[in-house]
Subunit: 407 residues, 2 copies
């Protein structure tokens, strides 16, 4: 292992966003040989006093587990030089851009150790989320980070007991890659080295981790479920299971596939071919979710041929996508990374996305209220704001079909 | 005036569905010279005892107004021969088909007076709602009604005080026409006569009524708002005003227009040309609603050119389409007449309707719960029904984009 920023054996990790996912990756990295400083917000006091109870089928039971340090502010960690800043907080740039959440910690870190900038690891949902941090922190005239590592995690973990306990099953895998995706280009040696160290930490900690030169493709894979099954759940405000009834599938399945096809259209127009994101993913993602139906699926018009049901993988009847859970709890949703970044790309490339547009149109008024509330603004007054300006120029429209107005 | 079914001066009207719209048309027809028998459900006792309080900008204040008779069952009206059966109840055929709601009254009526069948007038939302009643009541081997009159009403009326009071503004207009639309074909004399009498009753009662040979076109006009602005409101669960903010219009307007364009596609594929349903309706319906925005609408990129705001027509900030009000109150929605009949037609004609499909996919699971509740069924148990069968044959799919399943 190469010398760390502090010159000691154990690399220093600053972990931002100590929710369910944050706790699991704190545990993995610390067990793998890192010192982990977790920045907590609402659960700071209890985690500091009592630690956190981990109940994981994969990682075991650990009552009162503690990261190396718990902190609330940049000042509390002023003496440490960090090797990695791992971001597990929600990506809601309409509340606060990723770079702004990290900036105070990164500035403090640079003051402490200007010669060695840390690697930023984004374990977050969505597509096209990296560029903002890359511009603001890596490509800035006064850079604060050495590079952006984009990471896609498959994990289902639940934070319970007001942030004192997490429950986790068996599924946990993380794919990491440098942003922008190097593809066939060589990665500068120090960055490759630093990424290798991160992968080794996670492996030693028992995590399933994979490094790739094409993290962008992995993000498209991951988001395919979130926008399609997740999008219809969000519009319906219902658990996935309710979309999988014999009486609802004739309505939901076609739409779910249609949303995925819109995404494939965007992917192809972006120059990403079948070898990087295959259209067969549609069947995989549809089939995987459909297998959780309780209904019998008759394949042909013959009355006695049924598709085998994967009875063991029945989803929990109340499972809802996290974006719907956020909506129901009155928290700002990850609308930007999951839906709006995709639509932005579609508009730029001239791809029509009627279903995604409708989800955005329906979710945006809600998001606006949630964001205003978070910012302490008066939503009701802002709805009636007579000075706000809407540009009825087609170019100003976010969705595909613009209004005609005599000019 | 021709002799009525009872041979007396005043035609007999049976009015089913004594909600806001039903009260207004009871008032108009009774004032215009008919005897009105209103069939009440939840508000029977109070209406019978105290009448209903009408507060209408157009028709004035009438406290304790009463229809000629109030009834609950067919038996109570066994001695009357009806000239008109006016249907103002919600059209939710997935709970009960229109014809089934009318049948017991029509059978009793025919027993009483087999020689003269009444005219059925459907004052209901949606498209393609008439055929079911036409088949079951008019074209049946033992017909119970002389014909179906389809009617489109523009009216905003609110039922308050648990069905004891209605509030109504100035807007009230009714367009009526024989189903199927005769267009240039002659209408049989007795039907024409009976329809004329109905129009005269409404006119004498102070209503704005118009007869047309093409009621089908009028239904498409009316539904255009409901499916577009109404559809996005339904998905968003927000009042119209929240779709009209400077920050939400870039998302909502394009989708609203897109939904309308899907409808125009269906209309044209149905053989209904520009002269019957004009595409310019899109601009009218978008513009009419947009004029209720509080935001300034900048037409060009020039910083100082704004569209004039119709400050007087500001909609009430909390106005919601009735389908959303039904959802919020846990009542089955008019999903079939407003959305699903349109999509059925689209599938039959091969028209792609991605936005309407998504609305249907999201609303169907909700509707299923509301209908099951209404029927006294156990929704939670039915979700987990392992015997229900889903036909994964593309022809069985309601929406455009069917699943691929190895067969």
């Amino acid at each position: 292992m190469t010398p760390t920023a502090n010159g000691n054996e154990r690399p220093e990790v600053l972990l931002l966003g100590f929710g369910g996912v944050g706790v699991i990756y704190s545990y993995i990295l610390q067990k793998g040989g890192a010192n982990v400083t977790a920045v907590c917000r609402s659960n700071y006091e209890t985690v500091r006093e009592n630690g956190i109870d981990i109940f994981s089928d994969k990682f075991g039971e650990h009552r009162g587990w503690r990261p190396t340090r718990v902190a609330r502010s940049p000042e509390e960690v002023a003496s440490i030089s960090f090797d990695y800043i791992v971001c597990c907080f929600k990506c809601v740039p309409d509340v606060k851009p990723n770079s702004e959440v990290m900036r105070p910690f990164l500035e403090m870190n640079k003051r402490n150790n200007p010669a060695r900038l840390p690697m930023v690891v984004l374990i977050q949902n969505g597509v096209d989320i990296e560029e903002e941090a890359h511009q603001a922190l890596v490509q800035a005239s006064d850079p604060l980070a050495s590079c952006i590592v984009s990471a896609v995690s498959w994990i289902a973990v639940t934070l319970l007991g007001q942030g004192t306990r997490i429950e986790h099953g068996l599924m946990e895998s993380l794919t990491v890659g440098l942003y922008p995706s190097p593809l066939d280009n060589p990665v500068p040696a120090p960055l490759a080295e630093s990424l290798r160290t991160f992968v080794t930490l996670a492996e030693n900690g028992g995590g399933d981790i994979l490094a790739t030169n094409d993290i962008e493709s992995k993000r498209w894979h991951k988001i395919m479920w979130n926008i399609s099954w997740g999008g219809v759940c969000l519009m319906s405000r219902r658990p996935v299971q309710e979309l999988l009834q014999a009486e609802t599938m004739p309505y939901t399945l076609g739409v779910v596939r249609g949303i995925m096809l819109e995404m494939i259209g965007i992917v192809r127009a972006s120059g990403i071919g079948e070898e990087r994101v295959s259209v067969s993913l549609i069947d995989q993602v549809v089939g995987m979710t459909m297998s959780a139906t309780r209904a019998k699926i008759r394949v042909r018009r013959s009355p006695d041929v049924f598709l085998e049901r994967h009875t063991k993988s029945y989803a929990r009847p109340d499972f809802k996508p996290s974006i719907l859970v956020d909506l129901e709890n009155g928290r700002p949703m990850e609308l930007e990374p999951i839906f709006l970044n995709m639509i932005r790309r579609a508009r730029r490339l001239g791809v029509d996305t009627p279903r995604l547009d409708l989800i955005a149109a329906a979710a945006k008024p809600i998001q606006l209220e949630l964001v205003r509330k978070q910012r302490g603004e008066d939503h009701a007054a802002l709805i009636l704001d007579e000075e706000a300006i809407y540009d009825a120029n087609p170019n100003e429209n976010f969705t595909g079909c613009a209004p005609t107005l005599s000019s």
